[in-house]
Symmetry: C2
Subunit: 243 residues, 2 copies
Amino acid sequence: MGKVFIVGIGPGNEENRTIRADRALEACDVIAGYPVYVDLVKDRYPGKELVSTPMTQEARRCQMALDLAKSGKTVALVCSGDSGIYGMAALVYELRGENSEPEVEVVPGLTAACSGGAVLGAPLTHDFAVISLSDRLTPWETIENRLRCAAEGNFAIAIYNPASHGRPDHLKRACDILLRVLPEERLCGIVRNIGREGQSSRILTLGELQAADVDMFCTVFVGNSSTKVVNGALITPRGYRNV
Amino acid sequence: MGKVFIVGIGPGNEENRTIRADRALEACDVIAGYPVYVDLVKDRYPGKELVSTPMTQEARRCQMALDLAKSGKTVALVCSGDSGIYGMAALVYELRGENSEPEVEVVPGLTAACSGGAVLGAPLTHDFAVISLSDRLTPWETIENRLRCAAEGNFAIAIYNPASHGRPDHLKRACDILLRVLPEERLCGIVRNIGREGQSSRILTLGELQAADVDMFCTVFVGNSSTKVVNGALITPRGYRNV
């Protein structure tokens, strides 16, 4: 009987990967995952069997990883960022059900809240919420309610999946909700291609964010009422006195 | 002129550290930080100058790191977990102010939401909020409001600093707030000493959490309305169909 490592590979580049993730990828027989993520790691771990399925085939992909482990292979199922946060870990547990075999190990990774925050400065130093704008698996009303609650709680917010091909206006609609509670001048940031070629970032207001051009490679940050820009860095102070 | 790396060392053990954090610690002249965190890394990076200040002296600690960098040293200012999330990154930027020297680089790390979630299973696979119960720098009313908003948004919640010596009843008070909105049966988890000696975890209900024994080495997870236990793992499904 083999084993499934569900590996958070971080934002993409090798240096932002954990040593534990690196070891799991070294040790495995098979690398499984969404094609973009398999492509990000395959050159560094040559000689591995590669297995991928397209988007919308997540359950099939996880089942293949479990089946390969049952046949004796050690499988690294790779996820972008963290393997738990919007990753495949929960789905693998669901599919394995009440069986205790094959063994499953969740290997966490840097999620975009951490890796993208570091690019901008430190926008999440105080309490924050993480919300995905993908309504493929979540009713849009649930997303709207969470945006409203996050704004009312004065949370800093990290927004994942701010746009996709099929839904280019999701971020605009999210800003409409946020602007019912938050001022137009609220400071925000966008990071694109975190840890990958062509990484870029910008700082802007919530009013400007509403019209900003984003795609599926962007992570968006909305500050809380204390967020400020210091010498080009977007930071949310924790409240240390005499600073 | 030297440089300050603000290094998220992850939960504590070396294998959950990123390669980038490992390199910064290898390269530095000085390791600065809260004594517990300096102790976690010092044996692996011998020969470094060690600088620490006690809790409540965070601004002094960050200023010392900046001053050492100005004197030509390369400084790794270590933070537990991520360097941005409740870490020192924002404070260093505030203290440096509008100067662009010394150079500052934020090196992200695994925050307890990721590393602790992986120990329990995958409790944060859907939208979540991160809230610290420390009221040393934050009015308790702000914390209460955020707990209420997170519950109303049906967020999974990661609770940092659930108790301390001075305030042993913070988690109980937080549960009182959550229980005004959430049912007693809501599934929760506690992870203690993530990635360190004596790591332990347990799964319990919100009603049980209210009376649970926690300390400053614990991170607490509160599930959303879909969270379930599958063969001992606490998971929050994302909503994949036919599973």
